[in-house]
């Protein structure tokens, strides 16, 4: 087709899916609660985590051809999410410097009510005290329940790197959370 024939005519993207590949969408829908949990842990804020989820879904839909059917959709989605977070969100947050530990928090279920924030702040604060790499390792293994090899694959690092981040992060959390841990 000669794209240049009619200067005024544009044919925007044809949506070739919606039916055939609805399994892909349904798979992501089923993962949404877990993706939200991981995103909230990475970004230390439920709303910011949902923004990260949205970017992740958008990227996944765009890159759907790169997902090999039969492989694990969850690992693939987690990998997209952590890459977006490391490459884009984190650097932007650092540049804007709007985030402080005090503002961050999950405040689940009460729309940011004071009480829940106080209640949850111990773990929030302790998680905020970790390096991003440690927090990511802790989330994947201790919250998301991935094995070391799976978690290392998602991050794209050697297993040894993953375990040392995990151990250091765990030690730091235990110190910050005191005997309660």
């Amino acid at each position: 087709m000669d794209e240049t024939r009619d200067a005024n005519r544009f044919i925007p993207g044809k949506r070739r899916h919606s039916f055939l590949s609805s399994q892909f969408e349904q798979g992501i829908v089923a993962l949404l609660p877990r993706l939200r949990r991981f995103a909230a842990g990475l970004s230390r804020d439920l709303a910011a985590g949902d923004d990260l989820c949205q970017m992740t879904i958008e990227r996944a839909l765009k890159s759907r051809d790169q997902w090999a059917e039969g492989t694990r959709l969850d690992s693939w989605m987690y990998r997209i999410m952590r890459n977006i977070w490391i490459d884009e969100v984190r650097s932007r947050a650092r540049r804007d410097k709007t985030f402080t530990v005090e503002e961050a928090g999950l405040s689940i279920g009460t729309d940011g009510g004071q009480e829940s924030r106080v209640e949850l702040s111990n773990v929030d604060r302790a998680m905020a005290g970790l390096s991003d790499e440690q927090r990511e390792a802790i989330m994947l293994v201790m919250v998301e329940g991935y094995g070391y090899q799976e978690a290392a694959d998602i991050i794209g690092c050697p297993v040894g790197t993953l375990t040392s981040r995990l151990v250091r992060g765990r030690d730091a959390l235990q110190v910050m959370l005191g005997d309660a841990a």
């Binding site: 005519r9 969408e25 609660p33 949902d50 879904i57 839909l61």
Partner: protein, 245 residues
């Protein structure tokens, strides 16, 4: 026997082979301190789960679920047809124009649900820079790289690209329920017009999208110095990073 912290963590996480696990258990039996460390590890895991797991039961926001619903099929955008409509017996009604946020940052903020001053903006696609709304993230990326003639399966849809009367390159786009026109300003895309598709009872989602598209095309006509860029000119503009020479 000395057990290093990595091995102990691996034991607590169930990552060791049965043979290695047996060795660790032997060491634990002899050293109560190791047993305490394993216990602390498991307690921490339980505490983190108690903290994060409620998210699994929380309702998923519509804006996330909506991204994964099937959408309507493609439309062909024809600037000439828009012009004919404007000049012909079926003028585009003026009513929709009242929905334009005409460079008014505040109005646009409301339309986009933007909370100025926060890091995270719904969609992550808009930011406020020196009082101007600029595109970020997915949207900025699409505006910079995506061609209107090649955008299968993309979530931002470029409607057209054109040179504005003020000399800037501008692009009309749709992203979900939002549509607008962005113009290149330095390395940013300044959102000169934004429009949120407020669903109306009398319109199907398809009609809603179509009328929104028509409004963007109409506005583009007013701003454009000439015709919309064709595929070749659009590609050249993109390869020149949307800077006029």
């Amino acid at each position: 026997m000395t057990i290093d912290p990595e091995t102990l963590a691996a034991y607590a996480d169930g990552e060791l082979s049965p043979a290695d696990a047996a060795k660790v258990e032997e060491a634990i039996a002899a050293q109560p301190d190791l047993a305490k460390q394993v216990e602390a590890h498991r307690a921490l895991r339980a505490q983190l789960s108690a903290h994060f797991d409620p998210i699994l039961d929380a309702p998923v926001p519509d804006r996330l679920a909506d991204l994964l619903r099937p959408r309507e099929s493609a439309q062909v955008i024809d600037l000439a047809a828009v012009r004919r409509t404007r000049e012909g017996e079926l003028p585009v009604t003026k009513a929709p124009r009242t929905r334009w946020a005409m460079g008014g940052a505040l109005a646009a903020s409301l339309a986009l649900g933007l909370v100025v001053g926060r890091v995270a903006i719904p969609g992550g696609s808009v930011a406020s820079e020196n009082g101007q709304l600029v595109a970020r993230g997915e949207l900025a990326n699409a505006l910079t790289t995506q061609l209107a003639s090649a955008q299968d399966g993309k979530d931002v849809r470029i409607l057209l690209s054109f040179e504005a009367k003020d000399g800037r390159y501008c692009r009309g786009y749709e992203q979900g329920a939002t549509a607008g026109i962005a113009c290149r300003e330095g390395s940013d895309w300044q959102l000169v017009r934004t429009q949120s598709g407020v669903p109306s009872k009398s319109q199907s989602p398809y009609a809603q999208a179509s009328s929104q598209t028509a409004e963007i095309m109409t506005a583009a006509q007013d701003m454009a110095a000439g015709n919309a860029l064709d595929a070749t000119a659009e590609r050249a503009a993109r390869n020149g990073d949307w800077t006029r020479h």
